[in-house]
Amino acid sequence: MKVLVYSSFTFSYLNRARVLFGTLRRFHPDWELVGLITDRPPKGFQFDVKDEPFDRVVYAQDLGIANFQSWLFRHDIIEVCTAVKGPFIHQACSGDADVVMYLDPDTALLAPLDPLVDWLRTDEILLTPHLIDPNQDRAAILDNDLSASRTGIFNLGFVAIRTRGEGARFARWWNDRLLEYCFDDIPRGLFVDQRWCDHVPALFDKVKVVRDPGYNVASWNLSTRKLSVGKDGAITVNGAPLRFWHFTKLGPTGDVMTKRYAGDNYPVYEIWRWYKSQIARVTDPRIPDRYWAYDHYDDGSRIAKAHRVLYRERSDLQEAFPDPFSTRGGGFRAWLVAEGLLDHG
């Protein structure tokens, strides 16, 4: 089966994407690897896909999203990088791939993913839940079970579909929802793309909930997953081969969550050490920390999250300012100033 894997990121996450795609190339040299980028390269950084461990790049503005600038402005960086996953997977169903798989840029493979492709010979949608075993410890319930209840049962750092039947139907539905409702708004039942997928087992057939502990290992499920490294060189999670890890929150926050639940299960720290060294190796110092081309108006001033929220909630503003990034001749920013919603002009 022809497999296409894509990941959605901005240039500040290029280092993570490089590690992910490097591991994909290692284990699956024949899979097509696509970087889906919602960003523009920073000044002084020459980006050439020929130098990257993926086959091609698709920029978000080329997905054919209507009123792209307006649509983009309604989202913050996490929301938009998640939202573009929908149109891409939907459009990929019209291509020649039999299987399309999404992986977050901060995941990395430790072993081949062939069993996923095998499952997709019978099932058409694969999802990995945050938790596959209930926690018993109160702190773990508060940290992990309730967190999953708020943000979504399945972790959408991974999804894989057949490009036909139920898989294609899911892709269409996901596309439609994410184009309109991909926001971090937990009180209203939205957490980007994830809460939507709570509906998937109810809305679609041929859904396989991957309960193999070797997939999507992350700090939120370490409380029920134990790593071992055998003398044969195999790395296992609760006895199953470790397939891919989700290195969420690289930095002090992620470290604390990992330590809290890994305890003295030291192979977990070996894996993190490896990941950090891989990231350090492929990090390009020419990309400024936290860089994103769409975090400011075209006059260089920062866009506050509140401005994005206001804009997305007001169709009149969307009509009046179809390119809210633009400050030429006034624009949305000037309107904010006039309304007293910005301190200075």
Partner: protein, 652 residues
């Protein structure tokens, strides 16, 4: 939803943080009625909006967290709320209570009179001590209370600068120590507590005071023991980092003029050329002792001994692309430092000889190409490759994945190798050795069967490579010991250097856990004590002149059990032989190579599965079965080999 906890559990949790004195002082109706204040609070007080401690306002908490009303709000906070970041507000009575307590000799006033410098008051001057109108500081603890939980002995032991300066440990901790991240006891870590409790870190207070006042009864952990392997991983260096360091060390050296090698022109026909990682006459260690004995054997046989070593230590083979300098010893005399081409040229000039052999003891710091050039120049093809370690199989020559666990040398493309610091550098070592095996007539010499078995399974050397098992030492039974029959604490020793891969951390953990247990007495015998260690230490240095020093010390101390918890598979454990010769029982684990094989072979010890099993053996007391007075062990003489010198008959 109300708690499913039993009333007893709720009582116990609340009691842990409940301030009886505060409650009885503020609510004198409870005091007058002679009621149990905690029971009163649980049954009625909480519903009446009374506060259980000066730092907790029941009403304010219920306003902020209405769902806590389903439970006792104080219990809700202690068991769940704190995790959600629901910080409590101080009781409206806190101020009055604290200052009345200060007046009566409790709390801040008396603490200061006793010499306790409250760092918040003194350092930041947040409020004058005598100003009762100022806002109360709930994070103060009576010095007497602190002294019960602060381990002054521990503080002095691990921070010798405090003992040397003659500073009171508690004063130091309260003023400077906590800010420097120092530990007030074995069971509390300042950095751990701040890292895992960001709400406490945000308060900017001494986290130990928080732990004593509130944290421990809230179920927070004082220390997050992630194990010594986590600590090792945190400071693990990559191979390129280590190589860069080695290159820097080498930079200070230049080659001596070739005239320094003139002595090579007078070499006899019989020559034995050895390679190792250092100058065995100048350094101390097991391999150095082997070479010293080899040198003595060669001298006795009348064979010239030329020894080559990298001028500075190297973590791996030296890549051919990196120029290096080689130290030269001829019959124990240092000729100087030279390039490989200088050495090859001098040997070529000296001409060939019939009785010439080599021994590769360690190729760390050597380039395979240079080794081949030198041997070719000397006209030598025949020799031994010693398995003192597994340099010929991997750059991680101890076969320790990421320096934390025995790896067993799995296939190089295995997941384990892919996450290991040595994984990418393994091929350079196997390829270099493949070239040596192809060009030379090598017999592999293993000091133990277990070392050979590991090497054979992992090596890429030709299957028909000849080998010989030649132990560095052998035991000869002498007499059964006749220990005194009186009961004494079981004496448990660690032998040798305190390197982590030798198992020091596991032993230290054991000694810390059972150090106060009267059933056991722990002891470290070696050349240097462990850094900051509290384990009693006796200096013992083994040398060619005093080869039995460790055995003699073990006998003098009447050591019952030696913990040989090497994390790497030892190719030959002299310590195991010393322990057995002295009649001590060995405790080890399955991955320790020759130690485990030796312990099993002669029933000299017990092979356990894990550190948890080791601790369980001590906890249960079963380890006492191995007391010398119960076993009446056989004592042995130790006879040392002369390494390659013993084998030259076979090689020539």
């Amino acid at each position: 939803m109300a708690s499913r906890a039993s009333p007893e559990e709720i009582y116990n949790v609340v009691a842990g943080a409940f301030d009886v004195e505060f409650y009885l002082t503020i609510y004198d109706d409870v005091a007058r009625a002679g009621l149990d204040p905690i029971r009163h609070f649980l049954d009625e007080g909480s519903r009446e909006g009374r506060d259980p401690a000066p730092w907790f306002s029941t009403r304010a908490y219920l306003e902020a967290v209405p769902e806590a009303a389903a439970d006792n709000p104080f219990y809700f906070y202690l068991s769940a709320g704190w995790r959600l970041g629901q910080a409590p507000q101080a009781s409206e009575f806190a101020s009055a209570h604290l200052w009345s307590a200060a007046d009566s000799g409790n709390s801040p006033g008396s603490a200061l009179q006793n010499g306790l410098a409250d760092p918040r008051v003194q350092r930041h001057g947040s409020r004058p001590v005598a100003d009762p109108a100022a806002s109360p500081d709930p994070w103060t603890v009576d010095r007497d209370v602190l002294l019960q939980v602060f381990d002054a002995d521990y503080y002095r032991a691990i921070y010798p600068d405090i003992a040397e300066a003659g500073i009171d440990p508690l004063d130091h901790f309260l003023t400077e120590g906590w800010r420097e991240g120092r530990a007030p006891s074995r069971t509390f870590s300042v950095p751990d507590y701040l890292e895992f409790n960001p709400d406490v870190a945000a308060l900017g207070i001494n986290p130990f005071l928080h732990y004593v006042i509130a944290g421990r009864s809230e179920g927070r952990l004082g220390v997050h023991d992630l194990g010594f392997r986590h600590r090792m991983l945190a400071r693990l260096l990559t191979v390129p980092e280590r190589q860069a360091h080695a290159r820097k060390l080498m930079d200070g050296f230049t080659a001596d003029p070739p005239s320094g090698l003139e002595a090579l022109g007078r070499l006899g026909s019989d020559l034995h050329l050895t390679f190792s990682h250092d100058d065995f006459t100048a350094n101390v260690g097991g391999l150095q002792l082997c070479l010293q004995r080899e040198a003595a054997g060669l001298a006795r046989l009348g064979i010239d001994h030329l020894h080559l070593f990298p001028v500075t230590p190297w973590p791996t083979l030296r890549p051919d692309s990196v120029p290096g300098l080689t130290g030269v010893l001829l019959n124990g005399v240092r000729l100087g430092v030279f390039s490989a081409s200088q050495i090859a040229q001098a040997l070529r000039k000296a001409g060939a000889g019939a009785g010439r052999t080599f021994a590769l003891h360690s190729l760390l710091g050597h380039s395979a190409t240079e080794v081949l050039d030198i041997l070719k120049a000397a006209g030598i093809r025949k020799g031994h490759l010693w398995l003192h370690d597994f340099t010929s199989v991997c750059a991680g020559f101890h076969l320790m994945r990421n320096d934390v666990a025995d790896c067993g040398a799995p296939p190089p493309d295995s997941p384990a190798c892919s996450i290991c610091v040595y994984g990418e550098h393994r091929q350079a070592h196997t390829e270099a050795h493949d070239r040596l095996f192809a060009a030379l007539d090598i017999t592999v010499a293993a000091p133990s069967t277990s070392a050979y078995a590991t090497w054979r399974a992992a090596s890429t050397a030709p299957e028909d490579t000849p080998h010989i098992i030649h132990p560095h030492a052998t035991l000869t039974p002498t007499q059964a010991s006749t220990p005194a029959g009186r009961k004494a604490p079981l004496k448990v020793a660690y032998v040798g250097m305190t390197a982590l891969h030798k198992g020091w951390a596991a032993f230290e953990d054991l000694a810390e856990a059972f150090g106060d247990d009267p059933r056991y007495a722990f002891l470290h015998l070696g050349s240097r004590p462990g850094p900051g260690s509290r384990v009693p230490f006796r200096q013992v240095s083994v040398s060619a002149q005093g080869p039995m020093a460790m055995r003699d010390a073990l006998m003098e101390e009447a050591v019952d059990v030696v913990v040989l918890w090497s994390l790497c598979r030892e190719t030959f454990s002299l310590a195991a032989h010393e322990a057995t010769s002295a009649g001590a029982f060995i405790l080890t684990h399955a991955d320790s190579g020759n130690i485990a094989a030796f312990a099993r072979l002669g029933d000299f010890g017990q092979v356990l599965d894990s550190e948890a099993d080791l601790a369980a053996l001590f906890r249960s007391g079963q380890v006492a079965e191995h007391a010398r007075r119960r076993r009446k062990p056989m004592l042995h003489d130790l006879t040392f080999s002369e390494t390659t010198a013993d084998l030259l008959g076979t090689a020539r």
